[in-house]
């Protein structure tokens, strides 16, 4: 069913009895051309772009839980492309451009809201670094504006501008950045992939990867063996475990990252604000809750929940930046499991096993990358080689020394 104002009206007038499921719940076929392991945002986007851009529709997405149960629903919904390094800027800009056209493309309201992303600076040196990053962005064709303190004060009321230790000196603003409703991204990509013939297999856990003579031939699952010519792994959070099934040892540790929502209040922050003197970022959802987050907890975890010291640290940063937040109560909190790669940057590449492809290592930043990650991973799987946009995200870059150290903060806890 195509979604439009007419389908909405027709169903409203007929008592909402004729809506159909957004995607099928098929039985697994014995064999597919391509199997994607992981039905999160990246896996679903990969399947969608395989079908749309490369005409490969004999695809199954194998998901151990249900669609939307993993990291695609465990982030802070921010999109942006304000990166410095040449390996990153064009990739994230591609992602932002895909976000801008996403809702028309997949016929789904993902509530893409380009409300801007503002990085605050608190010293002259930090302002110089932001100016450099803004210039690099503009050279790559990305929008960037350097704001002075007066412009920041006018844009974001409530900041502790004249804090004695960390005064706000200005900020780097990307107006095209913003937020997207993350559940709708998962559902929208699932539905769009399904409409192009992709089988989405929920509650189907991969228990083994079949390799014969150095070539992948399929996967073992809790619903039987599925043969495939190509297998793409997009299981961030559990990448090490899945890759180990094919004998690979990855430059990744799994860590827990927490995020928080406050009680709903009247409109307070109409953009995304990041604290430059601590790890803290905040936006306000359309329901009124403040959505915010900070650092990883720092220890290996697969538990999808964190511990209290980081909660306290994030709250301290929040109140340091916005003193009025001390009056708010926080409503709920969750943890997601991040693939922390050793240089803090992702991997989208082939593997030493023929026909086996790897998409992992997203650290803090997987959500914003969802469309470009899927787009580039689909290209890598379909053609057997990375696209220019993901040419920096190679698996062998750690062995060859070509790391992508945008912030240089990967799995090592004392670097955060």
């Amino acid at each position: 069913m195509h979604y439009s104002v007419f389908s909405l009206l027709r169903n409203a007038l007929s008592g909402n009895r004729s809506w159909t499921p957004a995607w099928r719940d098929p039985e697994p076929k014995p064999a597919y051309d391509t199997v994607i392991v992981g039905g999160g945002g990246h896996g679903l986007a990969t399947a969608y772009y395989l079908a749309k851009e490369h005409g490969i529709t004999d695809v199954a997405v194998v998901e151990k839980g249900y669609i939307g149960s993993g990291n695609v629903g465990r982030n802070t919904t921010i999109i942006r492309s304000n990166y410095l390094l040449p390996a990153n800027t064009p990739f994230y800009e591609k992602s932002l451009q895909l976000w801008e056209g996403l809702e028309q493309d997949i016929n789904y309201n993902a509530m893409v809201s380009q409300r801007g992303v503002l990085n605050l600076c608190h010293s002259d040196a930090q302002r110089d670094a932001y100016a450099r990053r803004g210039n690099a962005m503009q050279l790559a064709g990305v929008d960037a504006e350097l704001l002075d303190a007066a412009q920041v004060r006018a844009m974001v009321p409530g900041l502790d501008m004249d804090n004695a230790r960390f005064p706000v000196k200005g900020g780097l603003l990307q107006r095209r950045g913003g937020t997207v409703r993350h559940d709708a991204v998962a559902w929208g990509y699932a539905r769009a992939a399904d409409r192009r013939g992709v089988d989405i297999l929920q509650n189907t856990e991969v228990t083994g990867i079949l390799v014969e003579g150095g070539r992948v031939t399929g996967v073992e699952t809790t619903r039987g063996t599925i043969r495939a010519k190509r297998v793409g792994l997009a299981a961030a959070g559990n990448s090490s475990r899945v890759a180990a099934m094919a004998g690979l040892r990855l430059p990744i540790e799994s860590h827990v990252l927490q995020a928080f929502v406050s009680e709903a209040v009247k409109p307070l922050i109409h953009t995304v604000v990041t604290f430059g003197a601590g790890h803290f970022y905040v936006s306000q959802s359309d329901k009124g809750g403040l959505v915010f987050g900070g650092d990883i907890d720092g220890y290996n975890s697969y538990a999808q929940r964190g511990s209290l010291p980081v909660v306290e640290d994030v709250m301290e940063s929040a109140v340091a930046l916005f003193p009025a937040f001390s009056r708010l109560r926080y409503l709920r909190q969750w943890g997601g499991i991040m693939d922390m790669s050793m240089d803090g940057s992702p991997i989208i590449d082939r593997t030493p096993v023929d026909g086996l492809f790897l998409n992992c290592g997203w650290c803090y930043g997987g959500f914003k990358a969802t469309p470009a990650s899927g787009w580039c991973f689909a290209h890598t799987i379909a053609t057997g080689a990375p696209h220019a946009l993901n040419a920096g995200f190679r698996l062998d870059r750690f062995a060859t020394g070509r790391v992508v150290d945008e912030k240089g903060a990967g799995a090592q806890p004392n670097l955060h």
Partner: protein, 86 residues
Amino acid sequence: MRIPCPFCGDRGNEEFTVLGAAGLARPAPEADDAAWHDYVHLRDNPAGAHRELWHHVFGCRAWLVVERDTRTHAVLSVTPAKERAA
């Protein structure tokens, strides 16, 4: 999460900092690139029991080897790191 320090007793993890996996063997300086790549970058990253180095930085300042279940955060054993080296 609470960690039973063998010297100070049961303490909250805000008193500790964590370094990472405990079992990594530093290669000889003249070891080849592959050995250093393995040591610096590659990790087992198990879902289950994981041995890691924690520093009781706001307590007795001892380095500890903590074995922890990464699926539940349950602490399985704690030993002073210098016993490991001996």
